[in-house]
Every structure is written in structure tokens, then in C-alpha cells.
Amino acid sequence: MRAPASNLPLVFDDVSLSAGATTILDRICLTIGLGAPTLVLGPNGAGKTSLLRLCMGLLSPTRGVVSWGGRIDGGPERRAILFQKPVMLRRSVAANIAYGLAHAGCPRGLRAQRTEELLDSVGLSALASRPARRLSGGEQQRLALARALARQPEILLLDEPTASLDPAATRFVEEIILATAHSGTKIIMASHDLGQVRRLAGDVVFLVHGRLFEHADASDFFDRPATPQAAAFIRGDLVL
């Protein structure tokens, strides 16, 4: 059996994205390789979600090229995304996971056991038979994370995965994220929480108004921001 081709490095070559007259992302050049999590930072409307959608291949750039391991046609087989507002299928919690497993090619005989393991890993075992849409916002977000992990992705894209979680659940999910990163999955994650960025980030991608201002190691980004915009953002000031 041939090993599936790698998705890494993920390369943005002069990528722009626009909708009508609006420029959402403006000439982004970016290379993301294997390693510690890449955190995507920026104020509201900066283009973080759009960038993650491009990383997933759900959107096509208006100009420029996105490539995964040198390929531009790559299907989403080895990528997974946790949306900012995840959508629960109208099924039970366990069935949502089983559905993800089925479409990630998990053999039928293994699904029940894998479902249990995944639910356990996000702390939702007790809710397995509940209708997924009845879960609280935070529970839904954890379920969506488990459903994304079910794909055993090489690249895992996370769009503010802890935005609606309480502090304990946030810690819990951060641990899952770190464990996933250690097991060799590349994490690319949007976040607003600077504390979280410090805890998780290997490198930081900083966007404002659809433009890439910085791509640096996390320590460099926080200690020596290269742009006044990044410095203002770190201080918690309005970024203009």
C-alpha cells in the first residue's frame, strides 16, 4: 500500500480572496509546515475564518494558489475543520461521531468502539444518546471537535474552538489540542485569547483587514512584535 501523499507544507502563494467588491484576504504569502500549533490572530473581521476555509479547500482563492504538499487538487481526506459555529446533524451525539467516522473510511466494525473512545476523549460519554442539537453550545463545540478528530487528520483547522467554553472546559480542550499536536497532527487555529495563544502557539500568523502583518515564532511575536499593529493588538488596544 502506498502511503497517502502528505498535505504539508501548506503554502499560500500570493493568495487573494474577494467577494464582489470586498477584498477579504489581500495577497497572502504563507508557508505552514509540520510543528507546534500555528495560531491565527487578528481583530474581528480580519479574515481568520476565511483563511481557515482556504486551508481546508472549502473556498478557492480569487487569485494566487493554495497548495498542500505541492498539490493543488488535494481533496479534504486528510484535513478536518472545526467551524466557529459547528453544525450538528439531526442525530444523536454518538451518531454524529459515527457519521464522521464512516465518511473518513473507518471500517464499520470499528466504529462503535472508536465512537466511544472519541466521546470519552472530549468528556461526552454520558450524553452519547442525546440528540446532538440539544447539547449546550460548549458541548456542541466539544462534539464537533471529536467529530473532526474522527477523521484522524494530518491538518486540523480549529476556528476559535474554545470561544464558548468555560475555563475548565477550555483547559480540557487545550490539553486535547496539545496531545493531538504531539501525536503529529498539524494544528492551525484561530483564537482571540492571548493567554491561550501563549500557551499553545509555536508560531503566530497575524492578520488585520485581510492583510498578513506578521508570521513569526510565538516568542518573537510577543516579545518583539515587528509592526505597530501587532504591538497594539498585544497591548489590547484597538488596531487601526
Binding site: M56, L58, F83, G100
Partner: protein, 230 residues
């Protein structure tokens, strides 16, 4: 007033003629809905998921056909099946099969159009998530139909209500033959004009009870579904 009393007596005594008519009506309309569902559910789902030139026109036509006049459908099927028509060889005119065909055609646009609407709403919600999970085309159709199954039950019931209550198509293609193609609605029309009001009223009562039952079921399914699946 005495006719109404006689009507209730007919129902209560389990009058054979009356219940034979009810039985045939139910068989014809249920079969028609099953046939229309087999075609209409996937058709509506496919229409919801695909984008092609002329799609908007097709949706508009389909929506318009929900209000197709039964007599016109009846006439069209009559022309198809009549001795000199293209399918005249089959000898189906004035048989229950002809009635099923006509009612299925009448109900098909209702089922397809309502399915399209229901599935498209869910598709807008699911689209990105399913794309991200790499769900193939046929699986998408199956997933959307399955996840909207409770709404689709009410769609089928709406189709059944329409079929059971209409008189135009079955009158024209069935011919209202005693003991063979006589349905509740055609019998009511005939017996009323003959002045035999008791049977007409009896059938009218049953028809209304049926329609109420169908709507109560639809409502129950919806409540139950919301409770279960959110």
C-alpha cells in the same frame, strides 16, 4: 336531518358498500402517494442540491404545479390512456391503475416541491460541514432525506390529503363504475345529484374524519420529532 341520522347508522353498522368505497379510495390514494414519493422525494432532494441553468424556472414551474387543477390532470391522463391515445393499447382507462396514475401525477409536484424546500433549508445548514467531511454526492442526498425524514412525513401526508379529497382526476379516468372505480369523492358527487343523501353524507363524514386524522398525525409527528431530534 333524518339523512344525517341514516348516514351515521350506515357507518355504525359497517355498511358493506360504504366501506368497500372507503377501502378503494384509501388503496388508490395511498398507492398514488407511495409512487409519487418514490419519484418525488429524490427528485426534490436532487433539485435542492444541484445548480444548473434553468433550475430556477424548474422550481417555479414545480411550485406552480402544486395547484394543478385535478380535472386537467384527469383529462391529460384520459387522453394518454384512451383507446386512441398513445397508451391506449394497455386498456387501463377506467381501472384503479388509471386512477393511481392520475393521482400520482397530481401529487408528484406537491411532494417534489415541498421536499425541495425542506431539503434545501437543511442543505444550506449542512453544506460546509458535509463538504468538509468529504461526503459524496449520493450520500449527501441520502443524509439530507434521512435527517429531514420527520418533515418529509408531513409532506407525504399533505400529498395524501390532496389525493384523498380530490374528485376531478378519479372521476375522469376512473369513470365512477359501481363496485370497481367508485371512490368516496366520486360517490358523494353522484349520490348527491341522485338525491341519495344518506350515503353521500356518510362518506363525507368519513372523509372529513380521515383528513382530520391525517393532520393530527402530521402534527403529532412534528411535535415528537422536535422533542427527539431538536
Amino acid at each position: 336531518m333524518s339523512e344525517t341520522l341514516t348516514a351515521w347508522q350506515l357507518i355504525a353498522s359497517g355498511d358493506a358498500t360504504l366501506f368497500a368505497i372507503v377501502g378503494l379510495s384509501l388503496a388508490v390514494s395511498l398507492t398514488a402517494v407511495v409512487v409519487a414519493g418514490i419519484v418525488g422525494l429524490p427528485l426534490g432532494a436532487i433539485l435542492a442540491l444541484t445548480r444548473f441553468p434553468g433550475r430556477a424556472a424548474m422550481v417555479v414551474v414545480l411550485n406552480g404545479f402544486m395547484g394543478l387543477p385535478p380535472v386537467v390532470v384527469g383529462l391529460s391522463v384520459y387522453l394518454l390512456l384512451s383507446r386512441s391515445g398513445p397508451l391506449g393499447e394497455l386498456g387501463l382507462l377506467f381501472t384503479p391503475t388509471a386512477m393511481v396514475t392520475a393521482q400520482a401525477l397530481l401529487v408528484l409536484p406537491i411532494i417534489a416541491a415541498l421536499t425541495r424546500h425542506t431539503v434545501e433549508d437543511l442543505w444550506l445548514e449542512y453544506r460546509e460541514e458535509l463538504s468538509a467531511m468529504g461526503v459524496g454526492w449520493a450520500s449527501r442526498v441520502a443524509t439530507l432525506l434521512w435527517d429531514s425524514r420527520f418533515s418529509l412525513v408531513t409532506v407525504l401526508l399533505a400529498g395524501f390529503g390532496r389525493a384523498a379529497a380530490e374528485v376531478g382526476t378519479v372521476m375522469i379516468v376512473g369513470g365512477n363504475i359501481d363496485g370497481f372505480t367508485r371512490t368516496m369523492t366520486t360517490t358523494i358527487a353522484l349520490e348527491t345529484s341522485r338525491g341519495n343523501l344518506a350515503l353521500a353524507i356518510g362518506l363525507g363524514i368519513i372523509l372529513i374524519l380521515l383528513i382530520l386524522l391525517v393532520n393530527a398525525t402530521a402534527w403529532g409527528v412534528r411535535v415528537w420529532a422536535v422533542e427527539r431530534a431538536g
